[in-house]
Point group: C2
């Protein structure tokens, strides 16, 4: 998607942190550092920022000299807008020879100064959240190749990290596996993907079909899930993605420290069993053989001992491998065994 | 939505049939004739058209003299485009003093001649399929008033007609009920609504919340369903609409002559029981009291005797009232009893 035109090598990124003081607003920057660290040459922040990725601080010009091709907006501002205080930095990056990549709802080209400078210097403004034109209505036709989807009991509990960790783990075993991104951070990490939540609802399943096209029989696409079938706002996105992905297998992502949906104090978290049952029942519409192969537990709020106890109890209850993809070891290897086509 | 500005009376329509020769392409015109006949002054067709609604044929100027405020494009052209052969008629309607209302994917203002003439004469070009700006993310919060949703075993088998018939039947019994439209034909019939399949997927449930806002405790919104939870392309739309609508009750619409989904020969029709079970399980996310109150059977392909036998058998099997809303009588009155809050 955003590769350099000369040699088809992935573009190197400078991570822009704006004036961010909230760690949670910088999840794109942290995702890129953690999963595409070899493509991040450094970070750039305004003086007011307190958040850092730990990468070398540098100017846009220095980043260009270090091989960067684009500056990525690695933070979200409240409301999804591009604040005026960022504009001089964006202009400076364009003048230094960098493209700009954004996953915000605001379009870069709608900021007049940014658009004018980009046009003058022939730089690209890449809005990750703009879906491609002419997405078809889903055909529902089975296609070759194998697919695994990460699903969840809620939003924002590890579906992207789980898909990335499974794809990486399987590739390390010599399996032909690709990570398929469906959200802005994932798309920046992968360099391509489909911003599924920005697609018009009639076309969501069709967009998911485009994202993981027909492939050789032994190829596995590991698809980043979105939302939850039991989420009062986003379940439609989750179901369209499930139907279009036609997954053969899925992994349920769960955070045992959550008692209700994030931001929805009146909505109890669904049980893992309910998520499995409904994912199978509805997923059968486009893949009659769909089955759950394991659970990815986000145990970041637990001690190692508590995490291991929780995983053992769940494994016992469900009869499925349970592992935290962020805690490498025998448990995660067993989950990878189950994910191997 | 499109009411005359002077007296807030509903606008009278002239139905435009283009050069249509396929009955199935004119379902908007037939829907308006059947459900908003008192607001249709006549029809206008090109010489090549063979389809007719049976309403008086007249020119745009004559329609204006009969009180029409807008010409409705009552047909869909293959591909959803506005063919050049229609443009002189659209221009003539604008010059005669009519607004134009379209439910097509193509925007009226994207046709240069149409836009220019509309601007010159101060007429409105109303694209029903353009959602309003600033739709919020769904809150999931319960709101006052009661809601009934029509759901289906497939697309295009009577969810709109069923909702319209239930709303009309309940109003005739003195119940404070409104039809809430979610598709282009329904929106033209009602004069307002939400084109739910044109909303960006993240906002579908939020759009459904907007469509049926908080209301007095004894008010009933009868909401037009879309798609099916078991449809490989449109299930995401159906689930977002279900969650945002928070229905207390639902009616399953079914066509006993279908063996597979329309246009999807590889997809078997789900059973009515499966649709009920999954609508209840997923609908509980936003309304724990959701329940099925009956089945609307589209028996248009059956003789009266065969329809009655089919309804009796289904009623026996499901233990729920079963009726064809297009066949008035005791069966439909029992379905209305069950829909009464």
């Amino acid at each position: 998607m955003h590769r350099s035109t000369s040699d088809n090598a992935p573009v190197q990124y400078l991570l822009f942190l704006g004036d961010t003081t909230e760690h949670g607003y910088a999840k794109t920057a942290f995702g890129l550092r953690d999963w595409a660290g070899d493509r991040c040459v450094g970070e750039l922040a305004l003086p007011a920022a307190t958040v850092t990725t730990g990468l070398p601080r540098m100017s846009a010009r220095q980043a260009r000299e270090h091989g960067a091709g684009a500056m990525v907006i690695g933070v979200a501002a409240p409301g999804g807008l591009i604040p005026p205080s960022w504009v001089p930095c964006l202009v400076e990056a364009l003048e230094a020879g960098l493209d700009i990549i954004s996953g915000m709802h605001d379009r870069l080209a709608d900021v007049a100064d940014v658009r004018a400078v980009a046009e003058r210097h022939g730089r690209r403004l890449i809005d990750i959240r703009t879906p491609p034109p002419n997405i078809p209505i889903a055909s529902g036709q089975r296609r070759a190749g194998r697919r695994l989807l990460t699903v969840g009991t809620d939003c924002a509990l590890g579906k992207k990290y789980t898909a990335l960790a499974i794809a990486r783990g399987l590739r390390a075993r010599g399996i032909d596996a690709d990570f398929r991104a469906t959200g802005q951070t994932g798309i920046m990490i992968a360099g391509s993907g489909m911003p599924i939540d920005a697609v018009v609802s009639d076309f969501v399943a069709g967009a998911a079909e485009l994202l993981s096209p027909a492939a050789p029989a032994d190829h596995l696409d590991v698809i980043e899930g979105q939302g939850s079938l039991f989420h009062p706002a986003y379940a439609g996105v989750s179901l369209g993605l499930l139907h279009g992905s036609q997954p053969d297998t899925f992994v349920v992502c769960h955070d045992p420290s959550r008692t209700h949906l994030l931001g929805y104090p009146d909505c109890a978290l669904p049980s893992i069993e309910a998520v499995i049952a409904h994912t199978v029942a509805l997923g059968r519409v486009t893949n009659p053989d769909i089955r759950c192969v394991g659970v990815a537990l986000n145990s970041s709020a637990l001690t190692t001992a508590a995490a291991e106890a929780e995983m053992a109890a769940l494994q016992q209850r469900l009869g499925l491998p349970v592992a935290d993809p962020m805690r490498p070891g025998a448990q995660f290897e067993r989950l990878l065994d189950a994910c191997t086509p």
